[in-house]
């Protein structure tokens, strides 16, 4: 049986005497799971993930990471298990060179110099940042800074990786690269949690989605079930994926199965309704409005 990496029970939190930001969150994540947390700005997503590495501690309820209650250990101790990449890389970056930035955590954890060098070089290569090794992080573009922040977490190889809004400010190609990287992390057995409201990015990458709104978890389920639920999508201030909308127009004619929000599966469903031969005929260019 896979063990629980994250166990959150009845978590309540607020900043000082303000309104409650988290109102009774229950969430369990098993080792190796790959989950997107979606919801509007202000839903409490960032506050929730800050509980995962102990930056914030529950006022009621508890958060356990690999069985350990976050209130009983330091942030530095938790950092070995949980790597949190912030939304704004400027909040994370501070060193004078790209290389130093990535090496920082390893030095803190007391890794030997040779091992540090090996790991830093490897992760910089993976992130396409090797050529900027000696450069100041603040001279990097927005997209590069974002990859640097991710690199400085990946380098110490935590079991659980949490990314807060990794796609903001990234263009389409950078997004695709990022998607590939986090998919690889999961393939290596890491537990990956991504906070985002980028609907099509989630469709491409995730099979499982958690929806948050106003400090509560509204739903958790398969991407194609959650993101086609009109009411839920609206409550979370998301929009439906393009192919969910197309499928709604077609539901009387075609039965959609699997994750049809991705184009390859959507195409398969249509081909099985139409038949290959008909498609060939239409391919001549007659299919248009």
């Amino acid at each position: 049986m896979p063990s629980k990496d994250i166990e959150i029970k009845n978590l309540w939190f607020r900043y000082e005497e303000g309104d409650w930001v988290l109102k009774g969150i229950d969430l369990e994540v098993e080792e190796g799971e790959f989950i997107a947390i979606m919801g509007e700005n202000g839903a409490g997503k960032t506050t929730l993930v800050k509980h995962l590495n102990g930056l914030l501690k529950p006022l009621k309820g508890y958060v356990k990471i690999k069985g350990t209650d976050t209130r009983t250990v330091s942030v530095a101790e938790l950092a070995k298990y949980v790597g949190l990449v912030f939304q704004n890389p400027d909040h994370q970056i501070f060193a004078e060179t790209v290389e130093e930035e990535v090496a920082f955590a390893l030095r803190n954890f007391g890794f030997p110099p040779g091992e540090i060098q090996r790991r830093v070089e490897e992760v910089l290569r993976e992130m396409g940042l090797s050529k900027y090794k000696g450069r100041s992080p603040f001279l990097l573009s927005g997209g590069e800074k974002k990859r640097l922040a991710l690199a400085s977490v990946l380098v110490y190889d935590p079991d659980i990786i949490v990314l807060d809004e990794p796609t903001t400010g990234q263009d389409y190609k950078q997004k695709a690269v990022l998607g590939k990287i986090i998919k690889q992390m999961n393939a290596k057995g890491k537990t990956v949690i991504v906070v985002t409201h980028d609907v099509e990015f989630v469709v491409d990458l995730f099979d499982e989605v958690v929806i948050m709104a106003r400090g509560r978890i509204l739903a958790r389920g398969r991407t194609e079930d959650i993101l086609t639920n009109e009411e839920l999508v609206k409550k979370a201030r998301l929009v439906m994926p393009q192919l969910a909308e197309a499928a709604m127009y077609l539901e009387d004619n075609i039965r959609f199965k699997g994750n049809y929000l991705r184009e390859d599966n959507f195409v398969k469903c249509i081909i099985s309704a139409l038949g290959e031969d008909v498609l060939g005929e239409l391919n001549a260019g007659s299919a248009r409005l």
């Binding site: 919801g39 509007e40 700005n41 202000g42 573009s141 927005g142 997209g143 903001t168 400010g169 990234q170 263009d171 389409y172 190609k173 950078q174 409201h197 980028d198 609907v199 099509e200 609206k234 201030r237 998301l238 929009v239 994926p241 393009q242 192919l243 909308e245 197309a246 709604m248 127009y249 077609l250 004619n253 075609i254 184009e263 390859d264 959507f266 195409v267 249509i270 081909i271 309704a273 139409l274 038949g275 008909v278 498609l279 239409l282 391919n283 260019g285 299919a287 248009r288 409005l289």
Partner: protein, 288 residues
């Protein structure tokens, strides 16, 4: 209709940089057009916007060649930015960075005070701008009390109150949740329809808006790589090669039917084509 923006042979590089941010750009935008500018990070989109509203060369220095003319005869290079605010308004990615006063009403009044508009006229314009953006209820709120989407609406209202003929928006929805982004985009379309305002929009989320804009301009490495009607531009493989998002309905259609001559721009168009194909299929079946 007259010309809103005319750019001829425009090249620019920022002071201290070897690379040219813009290279020999020619672009004409007609009054009342809604133009979408897309392209990968660093392709020159933001620099182009700055050249249209005069931030370049008046605020950002560098080497500039070519001409930028607004509304037939306003030479951007010769005017000071404060002289241009009546003609061209600009909205940026981060609304917090452009809101500076204590209430929404004062925020919208701020630019008008600088223009020396009379108090009656000012009140009228504030009411009008808040109404156009449907944010009258936020009038007495402080900008920091607002959500990101509301802040961006206030930023647009503040620019709109100056009644510019041209509105330039540089990734105005980048920090917003999808529903807020959609609201902003719909409001911009409404401004174009109702006021005939010319809109130049830089935006990554193509799928939300390609079926509603008049033209798409694709930029790459400081140049214009494609410029045309959405259907013509998105049909071309070039867009995908450059690294611009191709809406999923376009990908599905190309996979199913090819797509050399036509593509759908939204889910409804895709669905209609598929239903049409299904009907043909069924009608033919008895013959087989």
């Amino acid at each position: 209709m007259g010309s809103a923006i005319k750019i001829k042979g425009l090249s620019f590089r920022y002071r201290g940089f070897k690379e040219w941010a813009l290279r020999d750009v020619d672009l004409e935008v007609e009054e009342g057009e809604f133009i979408l500018i897309v392209g990968p990070s660093g392709c020159g989109k933001t620099t182009l916007c700055r050249c249209i509203n005069g931030l370049i060369p008046h605020f950002y220095e560098g080497e500039l060649h070519g001409e930028v003319t607004l509304l037939n005869d306003i030479n951007v290079l010769e005017k000071e930015p404060y002289e241009l605010v009546e003609y061209v308004g600009m909205v940026f990615q981060d609304p917090e960075a452009q809101l500076i006063t204590s209430t929404v009403e004062r925020e919208v009044a701020f630019g008008l005070e600088n223009l020396g508009v009379s108090p009656d006229e000012m009140r009228a314009r504030i009411n009008w701008a808040l109404g156009m953006l449907r944010i009258e209820h936020l009038r007495d709120k402080a900008p920091y009390e607002l959500s990101g989407g509301e802040q961006q609406k206030v930023a647009i209202a503040a620019v709109l109150a100056l009644q510019p003929k041209i509105l330039i928006l540089d990734e105005p929805t980048a920090n917003l949740d999808p529903l807020s982004a959609l609201e902003i985009l719909n409001l911009l379309l409404n401004l174009k329809e109702k006021l005939g305002i010319t809109v130049v929009l830089v935006e990554h989320r193509l799928s939300m808006i390609v079926d509603k804009v008049d033209r798409i301009v694709v930029m790459r490495e400081g140049r214009i790589a494609a410029n045309g009607k959405p259907r013509d531009v998105l049909k071309d493989k070039l867009v995908e090669d450059i690294g611009v998002e191709v809406p999923r309905v376009v990908k599905v259609y190309k996979e199913l039917f090819g797509g050399e001559r036509w593509i759908p721009l939204n889910p409804r168009e895709l669905a209609e084509v598929v239903i049409h194909a299904l009907k043909r299929h069924r009608d033919q079946e008895p013959l087989v």
